[in-house]
Assembly symmetry: C2
Homo-oligomer: 331 residues x 2
Amino acid sequence: MDTHKSTLEEVAAAAGVSKMTVSRALRGAPDVSRATRDRVLQAAERLNYIGNRLALSLSSQRTDLVAVVVPSMSNIVFPEVMAGISNGLEGSGMQAVFGITDYDVAKEHNIIRDMLSWRPSAIIVTGLDQPDETVRMLRNAAIPVIQIMDLDGTPIDFNVGLSHERAGEEMARALIAAGRKRFGYVGSALDRDLRAGKRRAGFERVLHEHRLAFVGQRLGDTLSSVGLGKYLTHQLLDAEPKLDCIYYSNDDMAAGGAFATMEASRTDDILIAGFNGLELAAALPVRIATSRSPRRMIGEVAARLARGSGTTDNPSSGKITAFVPEITGVA
Amino acid sequence: MDTHKSTLEEVAAAAGVSKMTVSRALRGAPDVSRATRDRVLQAAERLNYIGNRLALSLSSQRTDLVAVVVPSMSNIVFPEVMAGISNGLEGSGMQAVFGITDYDVAKEHNIIRDMLSWRPSAIIVTGLDQPDETVRMLRNAAIPVIQIMDLDGTPIDFNVGLSHERAGEEMARALIAAGRKRFGYVGSALDRDLRAGKRRAGFERVLHEHRLAFVGQRLGDTLSSVGLGKYLTHQLLDAEPKLDCIYYSNDDMAAGGAFATMEASRTDDILIAGFNGLELAAALPVRIATSRSPRRMIGEVAARLARGSGTTDNPSSGKITAFVPEITGVA
DNA sequence: TTTGTTACCGATACCGGTATCGATAACACA
DNA sequence: TGTGTTATCGATACCGGTATCGGTAACAAA
């Protein structure tokens, strides 16, 4: 019935008490008699009262907000991380607020600034490659900073993720051990997706150690996608018919590669290798190699760290949580 | 250097002016001389001042927040909608806040309640099937309520989406027109994903009109996924060898179906039909039928409506934005 | 009857900004 | 010299809650 508003004051008037008593009753504080508590609750119900968190947070100096900054939404990986965070926060009374940077450093800076203006209790950001200015801002916020996904670099505070350089290395080692010799590479936008670039660098380093190199490669400049992976793979197969293995920037691209090899009837002699361990990769009609990144787990661990914001934190321990991706589909 | 805090008051002290002047200078208000403006800006810079939106919003009675409530994150569809919203909000100074309900009605109610306590300028919720209690709460919020994705029902206020019943009907009509006769169905969790249920109902209605029915079906009870679609399809193919078309609850399941038919060498006589028009569906090595849902566009339109919150809105026009999904891959 | 204790409740001062109105100084003009 | 005007700034009152402290009533104990 009543249109919007309704403040503590109004509920107080309706219940015939002071707003302080209403505040206590609604929060379940002990210093309220059963009788008045019931009156207050009824009045609040009747007026459709909904608390004002702006006032609450400003007054109590706690927001119970967790800012989360991710680069993209168009790949299922980050939504899964966000779901993990959301899940890990459940029951804590904390709320995640998300920001998307589109892999843009300047945008990231502004988004982080905007997020900090909400005075979150903790902030989760993707990667370790923020520019100095952004790092300074994060340091200055005096809240737990949790950098996720990547481990290759110097963390500001907490760090949860995996080494992408090492993931690339391990994949190369596994493929070489399995007898692969003529490698190709397909990826896209490595200048923006720095983690994909690190994987490629690690992979290539191991190739060099074994006196090998990418025989051929195709790089796109748009966001990675299944269709792009398929398209570039067809190109690469035409240009380099003798490849026996192609490494991709991620599983989406790799799935496209798998489709391309199927269409070219090359599934028997070419092994497709990706990264992430997507559900899709496991369901493909052909086996592809991939490293499973614990995306959801990373989100949950990050959430757990964020929850610890208010509690007693052991300052120096557990700052870094390292995961080692499991490689599957090679042999 | 300086650890956290720093308020307007402190910047004011540092600049030798009142906090009101700092407030004006930082917002670019006209009543400030160039000289003091510069002094203030420098002081703010030096102290690493970051505004407090809690105070700002409480004081000005505007949050510029858009609450967004979606059921899931584990399917790329909703992240794409969210990306569309985020994109559509760009440059407006508004910020989206997301909540995930996991297709749980009770959870949805609580999440909406929590969101409203932040006093958003508008709220975007998925679907039209909220229980009365939730509808009352939304009505009472006295802000624009934008229900997205679905059109089959009675909207509270704004409505942006498509009719899923009709989408199912149209797909059935197209498939029948293309000569398909023996239909199967594969889906999952239709009791929670109501829109998938509506599509199925619409599809089945048209089958009946043509004196047809699903010859066989498999229903999972977990969330839809490529693997599940593949698994259920294999089961269905074993049980009903004579199908010539299978309708799926969505494209993820359908992709799994496509893989199953490939593995069973049945790609020539069975047509796979899904819903969403995912990028993946177009890249598959076999053609599948699908209806393209304008997910990103829905998000952008919703964002545009949310932006209009503060401006002069023509109350009765443009309340409903209907999209008609385009069917591809049938013939 | 006096004194203590406990249970319950209200008054007041913030939290960190913005809106509003008024004050002051400088300058132009009569 | 007196009077407006304009530019620039500050004082004050909120916004809607919570923290803190103090007050009152009821009851038990002395």
